[in-house]
Each structure stands twice: as structure tokens, then as C-alpha cells.
């Protein structure tokens, strides 16, 4: 295709590239700023004014503080537990449900489908939900972060539309060979839907990683705090930052500890994120496929 290269076009291209570079800087800078603050010397931080393009001085104190803090490690441990066990529950239930929704020649298909879809528009609301979970004995248990959010209806519909694209002839061939529904789901549907399964793992996984509200209302004992709860306590409430308050640059020490917390809790995502990018883009594509 022959592109007309008028002055206007060139100017637009230049402006566009510059704008997107600026935008990228705005997207990244807050995180970089946290990195700089976390590595800075408190005293230098105290006298610093303006933007920061490198750490002011160098001190690893903030990181030592964070890594020696038991609560951070407990938080990580609990979060990993919730993610691992949670994902097993999420993926099993979502696959079972999505598989059932593709079998539309059975009698209870429609009633169950309607029952599921209704929940996308109606919910009990915060207090009834809280009371229900509490009545089930899940209060102050990590399972309160697993069972009540075991299925996201949206994800299940997404997986169903992926399952639907698998040719029905494969299903029939299993029946002819004497196999049942479990064989079809585990030997055919799941292996043929690995990209969609990856999307499910990603969506649910990120969900578990980010959740703090359910943890905030259900988890009370400190040794069950998830990472987000620990972060909330330190970053938002500013409590349990056990630092010597007598020093003049106390505030700066706290600032760099908070910054180090931000960095330490974001690095895991940062590390795996580029590898996952193609999957989450794929996920949105599946979503937009459904006519």
C-alpha cells in the first residue's frame, strides 16, 4: 500500500510516538519512584526536593527491615496457600460447570443455565453474603477466601464458549468407545483448551493475589493475614512499622520501608507478567468472540 507522506502525516506520526513515549513514562514512573525511594538514604531523602531519577544515596535498610519482618513472610505464605488451593477449586468447578453448559440436550440444561445467569444480575449484597459465609463456619478461615469465590460466572461462560468450539464428533467418538462424560472432559475438552485454561488460571490467580476486601472482613487472626492485608496495615494504616521513632528522619525511614513493601509485593507479578501477556490478550479475544 502506497502511503502518502505529507507533512501533516509526518507531524502526526512524530506527535503520536512522542505522546506514547510520554504515556509509557507516566505508567512506569510511579513504580520507579518507589524503587528509588526504597533504596535511598533517609537523610538524603529528607533534603531531596523535586522528581527523582536515581536513589538518593544508597541504603538497603528498608529491604532488610522488610525481609526480616515475619508478618510479610506469613502474608506471602497465606497468599500462596490461597492461590494454590483456590486455583484447584476454581479450575475444577469452572470446568465442570462449563462442560455441563455445553451439553444442551439434557433436560435440566436450561433451568440450571438460567439459575447461573440470574446471579450475574442479582446478588444478595454485602451483609447477607457476610452472614451466609459466617453461618457456614468460614469466619476467620482462609477457606473464606476460597469457597465463596470458587466460581466467577463470567469466567465460566468464557470457558464454555471455548469448549463449544470443540467439534461434537469428538464427543460422539468417545461415547462410541464406551467412555463417559468424565473421559470427555478430562481427556478431550481440557487438553484441547489449554490456552483457555491458562487464561482461567491467570484471571483467577490475579484475582486471588489482589483480593483484600474478603480477607479484610473475614480474616481476624494475625497469623492468617494474607499479603494484601499485611500491606494494607502497613501502607494504609501505617501501623506495625516498628521503627525507632526518636530519629529525626523517622518519617523518611517509614517512607522508604513502605516503598520497599510496594516493591517486594509487586516484583513477583512483574517477573511473571511478560510471559503471561499473550494469554490474557487471548482471554479477552475469547470473550469478544461470543457472537
Amino acid at each position: 500500500m502506497v502511503e502518502r507522506k505529507t507533512i501533516g502525516e509526518r507531524a502526526f506520526n512524530l506527535f503520536n510516538v512522542l505522546f506514547l513515549i510520554l504515556l509509557s513514562i507516566i505508567m512506569l514512573y510511579p513504580m520507579l519512584y518507589e524503587v528509588f525511594v526504597s533504596l535511598s538514604e533517609p537523610l538524603a531523602l529528607f533534603s531531596h526536593r523535586g522528581l527523582m531519577f536515581a536513589p538518593q544515596g544508597f541504603s538497603s535498610y528498608a529491604y532488610e527491615w522488610v525481609l526480616q519482618n515475619n508478618e510479610v513472610w506469613t502474608g506471602y505464605k497465606n497468599t500462596i496457600f490461597v492461590i494454590v488451593v483456590g486455583l484447584v477449586v476454581n479450575i475444577s468447578l469452572t470446568s465442570l460447570g462449563a462442560y455441563f453448559l455445553t451439553r444442551n440436550n439434557v433436560m435440566w440444561h436450561k433451568p440450571i443455565m438460567i439459575m447461573i445467569l440470574i446471579t450475574m444480575y442479582f446478588s444478595g449484597g454485602m451483609v447477607p453474603f457476610f452472614l451466609t459465609v459466617k453461618d457456614l463456619g468460614l469466619y476467620d478461615s482462609l477457606f473464606a477466601l476460597i469457597f465463596p469465590t470458587a466460581i466467577s460466572t463470567y469466567n465460566m461462560i468464557l470457558l464454555r464458549s471455548y469448549f463449544s468450539s470443540i467439534p461434537e464428533s469428538l464427543v460422539e467418538s468417545v461415547f462410541i468407545d464406551g467412555g463417559g462424560h468424565f473421559t470427555i472432559l478430562f481427556k478431550i475438552f481440557i487438553p484441547l483448551s489449554l490456552p483457555a485454561m491458562a487464561v482461567m488460571v491467570l484471571y483467577y490467580g490475579v484475582g486471588h493475589w489482589n483480593t483484600y476486601f474478603n480477607a479484610l472482613i473475614f480474616i481476624k487472626s494475625k497469623e492468617k493475614f494474607t499479603l494484601q492485608l499485611v500491606l494494607r496495615k502497613m501502607l494504609i494504616e501505617g501501623s506495625n512499622l516498628d521503627v525507632d521513632q526518636q530519629t529525626a528522619e523517622y518519617e523518611q525511614v517509614v517512607e522508604s520501608i513502605k516503598a520497599a513493601m510496594v516493591v517486594v509485593s509487586t516484583v513477583p507479578i512483574l517477573c511473571i507478567y511478560p510471559f503471561l501477556q499473550k494469554y490474557f490478550v487471548g482471554g479477552i479475544m475469547i470473550g469478544s468472540l461470543k457472537e
Partner: protein
């Protein structure tokens, strides 16, 4: 006729006999929905009662005024107008600034010549979506301190340093700006996908006819992604009354309740912090009904006007 009479039963038992493994598979799913979705829906009944934990949902007494006591006291309270206006205002801010932003970003990224640069920009702009709410809000709070980043930048323009999250007038701007910052890249994915689906033959034809960049965007790309835009607009308008509490309860404080307190945060405070279970449920139910009406109205209007609709 005997046959017609027990047809349903017969069909059901035949269906069960043949498909029981399938029903066994879906059983845990059904249990999940009953336990965690339908049981709370039944619990809404406490909005019409004076719920006492020791009496339970069924044992608690009905409220006066035909069970509407909590609704009436909410409508009569000074909070009614405040939380409704705040919810609408924050939604309007997000609609005006947050809705067009990803469309513009997708259009700009689509005009890039270098695919490599495009991928880099995408990777960078998606990233904030994966930073947790708590961390984002922690950062925002740090930047809003009187010696924080935002004040440093403000001082270039002669602004006096102040603790920004203590000033009611700034809250909506801070909330919306950080929301756009976090979501713009991620939301642009769906528009990029839609743009990729626009027939490239149309672009070539228009280019041959001498149409410039802007005219092609205006007359080809935008009409091509109109259905996507309309669907997402319906969803956003449908959600106008449901501003989430996750971010707000991490950012607000008593001194800015007058602009920051929305319906959902009010429900949270009243219900789970102050234990006014029934009152909070009533407010929540009022909000759900409003949401429901909004979704259906937006959908109906869109079906009439643009022939695109959600359902």
C-alpha cells in the same frame, strides 16, 4: 390419557437414568450457587426486619411501616442525597474521562508503524492493571502527602503544598485519574481487537481516494468499532450506581466523606463496621434495584437507537 399425564415424570426419570453422571458433575457447581449466591439472596429479607444475630433471619421481627422502616429512614436521612450524588458524580467523572481514554489509546497505538514499539507500549500500559489495589492506594496516599510526589509537581505551578487527600474538592479527580492510569491500557485491548477486525480493504480504498489519516479514522475505524463501543458504554452506564468500595475505603477519611462517601462504602460502614445489619441491607437492596433498572433502560435505549444491545 395416562401417558400424557405422567410424561414429565417419565421423561425426568429417563433423563436422570441416562445422564446421571453429567448431573453428578454439575452437582458441586449447583451447590456453590445455592450456598453462596441464592442463600444470600434469601438473606435480603433482613432489609425488612430488625435482624438480631441471636434470633436469626427468620426469628427476627419485621420492622414497622410494613417492613419498610429502614428504607424510609434511609430516604429521610441526610446521607441519602450525599451518597447518591457522590456515586453519580464519581461515575460521571469516570464516564467522561475514563471511557474515551482507552478508545483514544487504541486508535493511537493502531496508527504506529513499528510493531515492536507498539508491543512495548502495550506491555507497559497493561502493567498497572496487575498492581494490586492495596499497593496502588498505598502509592496514591504517599504521593498525596504534603511532601509527596503530587505536591512536588504542583509546586512547579505555584501550588501550595497540602495533604491532598484531606481536601474534599480533590477526591474525585484523584480517584478518576488513578483509575484511568490503572485501567486505560487494559481496557484498550478490547478496542485493539475490534480495530484489528475492521476490513483493511476499506482503508486501502479510502487511501487511494486520497483520504488522510484523520478522515480514515473518523469514517472507517470508528464506525467499524462502534458496536464494541456501544456495548461497553451500555455496561458502563448500567454500572453508574455501583461505584466499588475497594479503592475508596483505602483512600478516604472522615474529612472528605462529603465527596468520597458513595453508596457501597456507606453500606460497608453501616453494615460491617457499625453492625446495622438490616439498615445496611436495605440501602444495598435500594442500590441493586437502581442498578437493575439502569442496566435494562440503557440496554433498551441502545437497542432502539443503535440496534446493538447486550441482551
Amino acid at each position: 390419557m395416562v401417558l400424557a399425564h405422567d410424561t414429565f415424570r417419565r421423561r425426568a426419570s429417563k433423563d436422570m437414568k441416562r445422564n446421571w453422571p453429567l448431573y453428578l458433575m454439575v452437582l458441586p457447581v449447583v451447590i456453590f450457587y445455592i450456598l453462596f449466591c441464592y442463600k444470600p439472596m434469601v438473606g435480603i429479607i433482613i432489609a425488612f426486619k430488625d435482624y438480631k444475630p441471636n434470633l436469626g433471619i427468620w426469628g427476627s421481627p419485621w420492622t414497622s411501616q410494613y417492613g419498610l422502616y429502614h428504607f424510609i429512614s434511609f430516604f429521610d436521612s441526610i446521607f441519602f442525597a450525599r451518597v447518591c450524588i457522590n456515586t453519580i458524580m464519581i461515575s460521571l467523572y469516570s464516564l467522561v474521562f475514563g471511557f474515551p481514554a482507552p478508545i483514544i489509546l487504541a486508535l493511537l497505538m493502531n496508527e504506529l508503524r513499528s510493531q515492536k514499539f507498539k508491543r512495548v507500549v502495550q506491555t507497559i500500559t497493561y502493567f498497572p492493571h496487575f498492581v494490586s489495589t492495596v499497593v496502588i492506594c498505598g502509592m496514591v496516599r504517599q504521593f498525596c502527602l504534603s511532601d509527596g510526589l503530587f505536591n512536588e509537581i504542583g509546586s512547579w505551578f505555584g501550588a501550595q503544598p497540602q495533604s491532598l487527600l484531606q481536601v474534599p474538592e480533590y477526591f474525585r479527580a484523584i480517584y478518576t485519574a488513578t483509575g484511568v492510569w490503572q485501567g486505560v491500557g487494559w481496557s484498550s485491548i478490547i478496542y485493539l481487537a475490534a480495530i484489528a477486525g475492521v476490513d483493511s480493504g476499506l482503508h486501502e480504498a479510502a487511501a487511494l481516494d486520497g483520504a488522510g489519516r484523520f478522515r480514515r479514522i473518523w469514517h472507517i475505524t470508528l464506525p467499524g468499532i462502534k458496536p464494541t463501543i456501544v456495548i461497553l458504554l451500555i455496561m458502563q452506564i448500567g454500572g453508574m450506581m455501583s461505584v466499588g468500595y475497594e479503592k475508596i475505603i483505602l483512600l478516604y477519611n472522615e474529612s472528605i466523606y462529603e465527596t468520597a462517601d458513595v453508596i457501597s462504602t456507606f453500606v460497608y460502614r453501616r453494615g460491617l463496621l457499625e453492625f446495622n445489619w438490616s439498615f445496611s441491607t436495605a440501602v444495598n437492596l435500594f442500590n441493586s434495584v437502581l442498578n437493575f433498572i439502569l442496566v435494562f433502560t440503557a440496554n433498551a435505549i441502545s437497542r432502539k437507537v443503535t440496534e446493538t444491545s447486550l441482551f
